[in-house]
Structures are given as structure tokens and as C-alpha cells.
């Protein structure tokens, strides 16, 4: 009897000991994560570096291998790159610029374009793409492919472009679009490489970038350019539509240090310069859903970041009117 009781008590100490070890082992990570939370916006100011560009790609690698619970957690780690990077950035930013100053600097559109290292097409400018669009029939989308994140998933599920193909998953980013396997209706489970190798598309619509906002800006723009180059190479005859990332609502934008409209605008502005007005066009759906503050109108959304199911049809109608002539 006595013996048994003592045994149990010892086991409790085993728990206490292992818990203490776990606790102190986790401590450095926690300190780093919480330290990074405050410095998060400084990420954008960070100089591009190879390590930063690699870390998201690594996580993409992990994601593609798993399913089920593990992948759900791993996928949601679009942000964790941020806290890891932030502390060193915080020290970079020795001038003592506050978060607010940083934000303010980002707002004027013309301060944004730090030119991407991607070689630009001829005559590229944001305006060139807005000219000369025409309205088309549904058959226009028979040979169209949409590549994107959850916003494109919404378009495939709740939109009414029945004939188009969709290569989209929630959490998709330029860092994992080349490694992710996606189930494309009528094609099957494929990687983008397999899909583009097996099919010929006349139009490729491409909307990515919001999941990447926590990563280094220049690395993401560069990677984005590489993915567009890759699509160009695999589908030489297709028209590529670079789609601006949908804004978030003002309330989300004002309270989020990463997923805010000044970061979205800055990124959209950078990718718009990839358009050449010949076979690469830039289209911006925000003109459809913005309110007067240049944010996603609260009336169209309940989660501040996606339009409600019923508005994807409106979006599709807008796409029909935005075909390159």
C-alpha cells in the first residue's frame, strides 16, 4: 500500500520534471515570438537577404508533404516567418522610427515602388493595362486558368465561370505555388508544373500576394516575377492577367500591422509594373469592391477579407468585362 503510494508520487515528479524541462526549452522560442510581435511592421524595411527568402520556401516544402492536421497547422504558418525575422529588423531600425512613421511612409503610392529586380517588359506602366478592355462571352473562359489563394478558391466555388480551370488553395503563395498539389476538377490532383505541361491555356489569371505580406517585400516581388516568367515559359501563347490583390476592410486594415491596405497597395503597385500591355495585363478588382476610403466595403464581406459567396458572381461579371482586346 505504502509502496504503491510512493510510486505514484514519484511519477508525479516525473511529470513535474518533464514539464519544467519542456517549459524552459520553449522559453527562448516564446521570447523570440513575443519580441517579434511588436517589431512586426519593421519587416518591410528589412534589406532583402537570402535567408529570408529561403525560410518561406522551406515551410512550403514542409506543407506539401503532409495532409490532415499537420498540414493545417503548417499551412497556417504564413506569418511565422515574421516573428523570426523581426528582432534583427528591430535592431536595424536604429533611427528609432516608430510604427506609425513606418505606416505613414507607406501610404503615398509613389514612395512605394522599390523597383523589383525582375526585368521589366517594354513600356510597362500601371496605366497601360487599364486601356482597351472589352466584354466577352462565357466561352472566352473555356481555355482560362485561374491561379490563386482563398479569394480564387471562392471564385471557383461561388462564381459562375463554369468552364475555367482553377488551381487554387487557401494559403497559396508565390513560395508554395510551384510545390503544392491541387485537385483541379476534370484534371485531378496535380502540381502546377504537371497542369501547365499537360494543358494549353489561352488565358492565365493570377492572383497571389496577400499571404506573402509578412515576408520580405523585395524577395516576394522577385519570386512573384519568377513565377510569372515560369508561366510565360510554360504557356507561351497565353494572355496572362495579373490580378491585383483584393483589399481588406478599413477596420481590418487599421488594426493589422501586416495585412493592411497600404501593404496590399504597395505590393499591387509593384506587380502592376510586370504588365506590358501586349500579352501581360494588370486588372484590379478593387475598383468593384472598394468603398470611398479605398478599402474593401464592409457591405460585401463578413470576415473583412473575403467577399461573401453571393458577390463572386458580380466579380465574374466584372471579369467578363475586363478581357484584353
Amino acid at each position: 500500500m505504502n509502496n504503491r503510494r510512493r510510486k505514484r508520487k514519484n511519477r508525479q515528479w516525473l511529470f513535474a520534471l518533464l514539464f519544467a524541462v519542456s517549459f524552459f526549452a520553449a522559453m527562448p522560442f516564446v521570447v523570440r515570438a513575443l519580441g517579434g510581435q511588436e517589431g512586426a511592421p519593421a519587416v518591410e524595411a528589412a534589406p532583402p537577404s537570402d535567408t529570408q527568402a529561403e525560410s518561406p520556401a522551406d515551410s512550403a516544402h514542409v506543407e506539401s508533404g503532409d495532409d490532415g492536421s499537420a498540414s493545417q497547422i503548417a499551412d497556417s504558418s504564413d506569418t511565422p516567418g515574421v516573428p523570426e525575422e523581426a528582432p534583427e529588423n528591430a535592431s536595424d531600425d536604429a533611427g528609432g522610427i516608430s510604427d506609425n512613421d513606418m505606416q505613414d511612409q507607406d501610404i503615398p503610392a509613389d514612395s512605394a515602388p522599390e523597383q523589383p529586380s525582375y526585368p521589366q517588359g517594354p513600356g510597362s506602366s500601371g496605366n497601360a493595362a487599364s486601356d482597351g478592355f472589352t466584354t466577352v462571352e462565357d466561352s472566352y473562359f473555356d481555355d482560362a486558368l485561374f491561379i490563386g489563394d482563398s479569394r480564387t478558391v471562392g471564385l471557383s466555388e461561388y462564381g459562375d465561370l463554369q468552364n475555367a480551370d482553377f488551381f487554387a488553395t487557401t494559403g497559396m503563395s508565390v513560395y508554395n505555388v510551384l510545390t503544392e498539389t491541387v485537385s483541379v476538377p476534370s484534371v485531378g490532383k496535380v502540381t502546377l508544373d504537371e497542369l501547365l505541361g499537360g494543358m494549353t491555356y489561352g488565358k492565365v489569371y493570377f492572383m497571389l500576394g496577400i499571404n506573402e505580406l509578412g515576408y520580405d517585400f523585395n524577395s516576394t516581388v522577385e519570386k512573384y516575377g519568377q513565377v510569372v516568367d515560369y508561366i510565360r515559359e510554360k504557356q507561351p501563347d497565353a494572355i496572362i492577367y495579373i490580378e491585383a490583390n483584393l483589399h481588406v476592410t478599413k477596420s481590418r486594415s487599421d488594426s493589422d500591422k501586416i495585412f493592411n491596405n497600404s501593404n496590399i497597395d504597395r505590393f499591387n503597385s509593384a506587380i502592376s509594373s510586370l504588365a506590358n500591355g501586349q500579352d501581360i495585363f494588370y486588372i484590379d478588382v478593387n475598383e468593384l469592391f472598394d468603398d470611398e476610403s479605398g478599402s474593401l466595403d464592409e457591405a460585401y464581406t463578413s470576415d473583412n477579407a473575403h467577399v461573401l459567396g453571393k458577390y463572386y458572381a458580380t466579380w465574374c461579371q466584372w471579369l467578363r468585362e475586363k478581357a484584353a482586346a
Partner: protein, 471 residues
């Protein structure tokens, strides 16, 4: 600051425990009081004045209770009335004033359509005010009733009211339940470890079940109810049914575990509510300390069930309207309370006894009824609520927009394993295994895995509600 955050687990709690345990026990209530004030101020950085409100509340009730000592009954009643008006006055101002004003405006506008109505106050609700108001009112009433003498030590009373383990989300502890421990308590290392184990178990329910299954309900609102298929509406509601349980139960367990680490024994707040056979039973198993409060301070003073059937039904109606309002100042909470009242009243008139005799029927009845009441609870906008019901019951009229035909199978394939885990944790089995084997090797492995998993999730999402929110 919530318990399920890295800040709390890795900084506040260890720092607090260290100071608490090196302090001689005579001063521990003081440490607890100060620690709770720090905890509360960390949670209300935007409204530092709310901490004064809490301190003032403690002071006023402390003084009123002291003033009752040795006075005549009439005077004591006068003091009690002042105290209750004071306590519930603040609660009304912060929680219900705008709801009341919108009601007044609706009436005024019906009479005089031209009038602009009164501007809403738009006050931010002080964290935990619903809970601490109920605790402090119970203290004053109990002193008035002579259950125990008024507390002479301000620190002891302050530590009881503000005690951070239960300050912001219960359980609602009455002073009588902790009085002895307030005066003298010992904490064995065994109790600290077992409190920690309970805390981790609760943390797991909150972070690994509630927070994750929450994505299902979020998805429904993101899509918009008009575009949700009927099967998905039910699946999402099932997800929410689990979410609200493990969120609240997990939080209560964490509170109980923390209490045990400090030498207290808090009352159990949930006892497998989803295994109930009737609404009556459900509310004896769900948020038990709230039900007990309403029973003790509203239902029984009104006469309980001793004044005939008509009066009993009326008393139940009062309790359930107030319970509904306690949960939130919106019309839907009143409707929610009314629905529960109707079912409890019907059960009281005879349905319950026949359900108790037929467990299978009771389970089926509750499997439908519980989620439906949660839908009314969760959707505060009445037109949205109507819309959601038209999805649950497609024969009801309601707007339908584009529905994605594969939505049910999509979300089922994403969430089935979580839903199964939730279902398992609604039964008694995991808790039996836990209480038997928490010190065994397997129990140790399980708890450490839960701790690691929870920390991992908190780390990845930084406890952001948008953890499972990806674009």
C-alpha cells in the same frame, strides 16, 4: 490577457507563482490581490480607469457590508438596496444602456417618426464586469442574510473579488465557498502539480479543440448564410456547438487548475452537459455556477416552485429572461432565454419524466435542440438569424444565392477528425481516464503532448483569432 496566451503561461504565471510561494502565507492574499490588479490592468490597457471601477466596487461593497454589522434589519435592507443599485447600476450602464436606448428610440420613432432619437453611449464593456458584479452582489446578499459576518479584512475581500483565475470568465464563486481558504490555506507540491495538470487539460480543450474547430463556423460566416447548403449549415452549427463548449469549459478548467495551484478549490462549472437528456438537465450541467447564482438569488427569493404551478412558471420566465440578458444585450439573447424557458417549462409540466425514462429519445431531442439554441445565441442580427434558419430548414422562406454544391464534403473532409475528437471529449471517458491516470506514464506523455501542441499552436498563431484564417 487570456490564460491561453504565451504571455500568461510563460511570463505572468511563473512570475506570479514565484512571488506567491516565497511570500509567507499571511501576505499571500495581498500578493494575490496585487497580482490580480496587475493581471486586470494588462487586460485593460486602453481603459485604465476600469481598474478604478473595480477597486471602487470592492470598496463600496466592503463598506456597506461592514455598516450592516449589528444593525436592525430595516437598515440592513436599506444598505443592501443601495449596494445592489450601485453594483447593477454600473453593469446596466456599460452593458445594457445602449440596448435600452435602442428600445426607447424604437418606441419614440414609432410614435414620432421625425425624431432622431437618443445617441447611443458606445461604451466599452469592462472585462469581467458581468462576473465580478455577480460575485460581489452574492457577497453583499449573503452578509445581509447573515450567512457569514462582513469581512473585516479589505485585502481578503479584494483578493476574493479580483482573484485573477476567475476574474474574467468565472466560475462564479461565492464568498462562502472560499471563506475558509481565504483565512488559511496550505498548498502542497502535490496540489501545485495536479493544478498544473488540470490547467494543461483545460488549455488543450481551448487551444487544440475550440480554437481549431472554430474555423468551421468562421467559414460559414465568410461564405454568407445565403450561400450555405443545408448540410453545411448543420455541420457548421455542430462545429459551433463544440466550439462554445470547449472554449468555455476549457477556460473554466484552467481557472480551476490555477485555483488549485494557489490553494483554492473552485466549484466545477461543467459536468458533461452534452450528455443531458433534457433542457432542464442541460442547464444543471452547463455553466453550473451561473445557474446556481440565479437559483440562489432570483428563483428561490421569488418563491421557487413552492407557490403553485403558475407562480413557478412565472419564476422560471424571470430567471430565463435574466439569464438571456446576462449573456448579452441583444434581442437574440432574450429570444434565446425565452426558448430555453419554453422548453424547461414544458419539461416541468411532465415531458422531463418521460424523457428520463427513455434515454435514447432524450439524446435525440437534445442533439437537435442544443445546436438550435446555440444558433439563436450566436447570431445577434435577427435578419441573419432568420436567414440561417432558412438554411437549416430549407422549407422556410429565405434568400438563396449561389451555393457551392461540394461545400459539405469539402468542410467535412477538413474537419471530420476534429469533430470526432470533440465528440469524444463530450463523453465521460477522457475525464475518467484523466482523473485515474494523470500521474501515470501514459498520462504524463498525454499531458506533455497537449502542452506542447497547445504551445505550438499559440506560437504559430500568437494566439491570434485569425490563426486558422488564411487567404
Amino acid at each position: 490577457m487570456v490564460f491561453s496566451s504565451l504571455e500568461f503561461i510563460f511570463f505572468f504565471l511563473p512570475a506570479f507563482l514565484l512571488i506567491y510561494f516565497i511570500t509567507p502565507w499571511r501576505l499571500r492574499n495581498f500578493v494575490l490581490f496585487i497580482g490580480s490588479m496587475v493581471f486586470y490592468s494588462l487586460g485593460t490597457l486602453d481603459q485604465p480607469e476600469y481598474i478604478l471601477l473595480l477597486l471602487l466596487s470592492i470598496t463600496v461593497n466592503y463598506s456597506l457590508a461592514r455598516a450592516m454589522d449589528g444593525r436592525r434589519r430595516g437598515f440592513r435592507k436599506f444598505l443592501l438596496t443601495i449596494g445592489l443599485i450601485y453594483d447593477f447600476g454600473w453593469l446596466f450602464l456599460f452593458k445594457y444602456a445602449d440596448f435600452f436606448l435602442s428600445g426607447v428610440n424604437a418606441v419614440v420613432q414609432a410614435a414620432a417618426p421625425e425624431s432622431s432619437g437618443i445617441q447611443p453611449l458606445g461604451l466599452t464593456l469592462p472585462i469581467g464586469i458581468s462576473f465580478y458584479t455577480f460575485q460581489i452582489a452574492s457577497y453583499l446578499i449573503d452578509v445581509y442574510r447573515g450567512k457569514f459576518p462582513a469581512e473585516r479584512n479589505f485585502i481578503d475581500l479584494g483578493a476574493y473579488i479580483s482573484m485573477y483565475p476567475q476574474l474574467i470568465a468565472g466560475p462564479i464563486v461565492t464568498y462562502g465557498q472560499v471563506l475558509d481558504k481565504m483565512k488559511k490555506r496550505t498548498v502542497s507540491s502535490r496540489a501545485v502539480v495536479s493544478g498544473l495538470q488540470v490547467f494543461i487539460f483545460g488549455l488543450g480543450l481551448k487551444v487544440l479543440l475550440a480554437n481549431r474547430v472554430a474555423g468551421l463556423w468562421t467559414a460559414l460566416s465568410t461564405i454568407g448564410y445565403e450561400s450555405v447548403s443545408t448540410p453545411l449549415a448543420w455541420l457548421g452549427l455542430l462545429g459551433f456547438t463544440f466550439q462554445i463548449y470547449f472554449d468555455f469549459f476549457g477556460y473554466s478548467l484552467m481557472a480551476i487548475g490555477l485555483g488549485r495551484m494557489l490553494g483554492f478549490q473552485f466549484p466545477m462549472n461543467f459536468r458533461h452537459p452534452y450528455l443531458s437528456l433534457s433542457m432542464t438537465e442541460f442547464w444543471r450541467r452547463w455553466h453550473i455556477t451561473l445557474g446556481a447564482w440565479f437559483r440562489e438569488y432570483v428563483y428561490i427569493p421569488l418563491g421557487g416552485s413552492r407557490r403553485g404551478t403558475g407562480r413557478t412558471i412565472f419564476n422560471l420566465l424571470m430567471v430565463w429572461l435574466l439569464t438571456g440578458l446576462w449573456h448579452g444585450a441583444h434581442l437574440n439573447f432574450l429570444i434565446w432565454g425565452l426558448i430555453i424557458f419554453v422548453f424547461i417549462a414544458i419539461e416541468k409540466l411532465g415531458l422531463k419524466s418521460s424523457l428520463d425514462r427513455r434515454p435514447a429519445l432524450g439524446h435525440i431531442y437534445m442533439i437537435f435542440l442544443i445546436p438550435i439554441t446555440w444558433a439563436v445565441f450566436q447570431i445577434t442580427d435577427l435578419s441573419q438569424l432568420g436567414l440561417f434558419f432558412s438554411r437549416l430548414f430549407p422549407f422556410l422562406p429565405g434568400e438563396t444565392a449561389a451555393v457551392f454544391a461540394g461545400d459539405f464534403s469539402k468542410y467535412l473532409s477538413e474537419y471530420w477528425y476534429l469533430l470526432l475528437a470533440c465528440l469524444l471529449f463530450c463523453t465521460r471517458l477522457p475525464y475518467r481516464l484523466f482523473s485515474k491516470g494523470h500521474d501515470s506514464i501514459l498520462g504524463t506523455i498525454f499531458l506533455l503532448a497537449v502542452f506542447w501542441g497547445s504551445v505550438y499552436c499559440m506560437y504559430k498563431g500568437l494566439n491570434d483569432p485569425f490563426l486558422y484564417f488564411r487567404f
